[in-house]
Amino acid sequence: MKAQTNSIAKREERHFFFFISPWLLGFLIFTLYPMIFSVILVFTNMDMTDSGKFIGFANIIRAFVQDPLFYKSLLNTLYFVLVSVPVSLILAFLIALLLNQKIRGVGFFRTSFYIPYITSGVAVTLLWGWIFNAQYGLINYSLSLFGISGPSWLSDTKWAMPAIIIMGVWTIGNSIIITLAGLQDIPEQLYESAEIDGANGLVKVMRITLPLVTPTLYFNLIMGIIGGFQIFMQPYILTEGGPSYATYTYMMHIYNHGFKYSEMGYASTLAWLLFIVIMIITQIVNRTSKYWVYYDN
């Protein structure tokens, strides 16, 4: 009997490893090995032609002491994250709130908000380049109807980043639908009993809806931060980081060093520094979560 259970356990174990083997191989080849290799690269000056020498902490020192673009790109990226993440979060919440009123045509609205997200790629980025066109662009034309003469957006050092942020906020469809799903999970009875107690609309939103949807907002916030720090395509295609590095993001800095100047060691150093920055910020958010995120238990 014992031998039999033993053989069943062995068979289970064999099956387990058989079925997860594609992932396990992939994990070893495409995650673990590159991660270890990437840590080693931090301490070398490897490039595409030369396997490089051990250079100690020189790459790290270079980032902090000799590379003004390290700070510039980090600050630009922080600017993007600090504006686009909260704006997206609040806007997605407000739109989801409006959609959650059992109104007719929810499907139509959901589609309208989701399409920009699902199509976001080079084509849509080029479309925005045209919309922000200083002379013939839709935005400056709309502003001119109100008597405002719009800036030259993507070629203006002050307005290029806001333009990139506007593009980013336009793709909040995903957060809207996640938030809407969160809102729909809130039990109807809570609102009913609040109404009996005489609560009005605003009180219900502030006392019931907002607290109960905080886990979803927290999820959107963390994903927004992680995604925001990796902003690359829009500025790379539309401005190549300009004008005068106004939209030069951190991911672009990694890309340039890794794939344009072929400085694999330095690019890996930059990548790990970004990882640390993201970890610190998400950890801070995580620490604050106990003060504002509501959990059932």
């Binding site: 997860i20 495409f30 290799f37 109104i103 790629g121 380049g129 799903a181 927290y218 994903m223 720090f229």
Partner: protein, 285 residues
């Protein structure tokens, strides 16, 4: 009492109408850029660069589509993009469901530990592994081929998809497996003949998300592809823009529109599955 209800009802009506107005304005802002793309794509050059801009072109033309498509080898780019998208999606669906089945159904003292590793890779930003992975593919001689964009999908199909499908497998009663097992089916047959059909909606969700991801993907093609014959649409479009700047916007918008349409069609056909997928994303949080 009567007046209370009446005032409450008018209040509701006002709130309702106000919400509608705000929602319609917002939806308009989200959709209008696409209408603008559509309109520009059908304009003759002189009309594309005119103030005030017109939503409806006075002279409709299809030249932009024909000329733009011919300007670069967009047919080739489309075939490359289709190859990557379809094969990578096949790999994602097959391997993610295969692995998820392993995690969902078989006991092992390593099950929890390895599943934690799956979840940990969700949090790892991709740029950390970018450079070494690039070096790996270079050493394998895969640079400037479509392989780096396809092959990794066959090795697990992405942590999130494994997570999602494992949840679905676990929602199916194990009696089903056991009955089949007694009838003489082996573990692979149970996976292939019984469980895969049972989680079909989830597989469709995973497939749709994978298709849109690979269709729109920019970073990997940018890094791995160098020669024109291997470009995907994303890189081809960027190449097109680099050679024209914003001087041939009507052609650029026409070609862009063509590349966006397949995703739009896919979305309208599979809307339900998309929404289900995103909702599942939220539950994870």
């Amino acid at each position: 009492m009567d007046t209370y209800y009446k005032s409450k009802r008018t209040g509701d009506l006002i709130r309702y109408s106000l919400s509608y107005v705000v929602l319609i304005i917002c939806a308009g802002i989200f959709i209008f850029p696409f209408l603008w793309m559509l309109s520009t794509a059908f304009k003759i050059p002189s009309e594309a660069y005119t103030l005030p801009p017109k939503l409806f072109p006075r002279t409709f033309t299809l030249d932009n589509f024909i000329e733009g498509w011919k300007y670069a080898d967009f047919t080739r780019y489309t075939l490359n993009t289709l190859t990557v998208t379809l094969l990578a999606t096949l790999g994602t669906v097959l391997s993610a469901s295969f692995v998820a089945y392993g995690f969902a159904r078989f006991k092992s003292r390593y099950n929890n530990l390895l599943f934690t590793a799956v979840l940990a890779t969700l949090m790892l930003p991709s740029q950390v592994t970018l450079v070494p992975t690039y070096l790996l593919f270079t050493k394998m001689g895969w640079l400037d081929t479509l392989k780096p964009l396809i092959v990794p999908s066959f090795f697990g199909g992405g942590a999130f998809n494994i997570f999602l499908l494992r949840q679905f497998f676990r929602s199916i009663p194990k009696d089903l497996d056991e009955a089949a097992y007694i009838d003489g089916a082996n573990a692979f047959q149970i996976y292939y003949k019984i469980l895969l059909p049972a989680i079909k909606p989830a597989l469709i969700t995973v497939a749709l998300m994978s298709i849109t991801f690979h269709w729109n993907d920019y970073m990997s093609p940018l890094i791995y592809l160098n020669s024109d014959q291997n470009f995907t649409l994303a890189i081809g479009l960027q190449f097109f823009q680099n050679s024209f700047g914003s001087s041939q916007i009507q052609m650029l918008m026409a070609v862009s529109l063509i590349t966006v349409i397949p995703v739009l069609i896919l979305f309208f056909v599979g809307q339900r599955h998309f929404v289900q997928g995103i909702t599942m994303t939220g539950i994870k949080g």
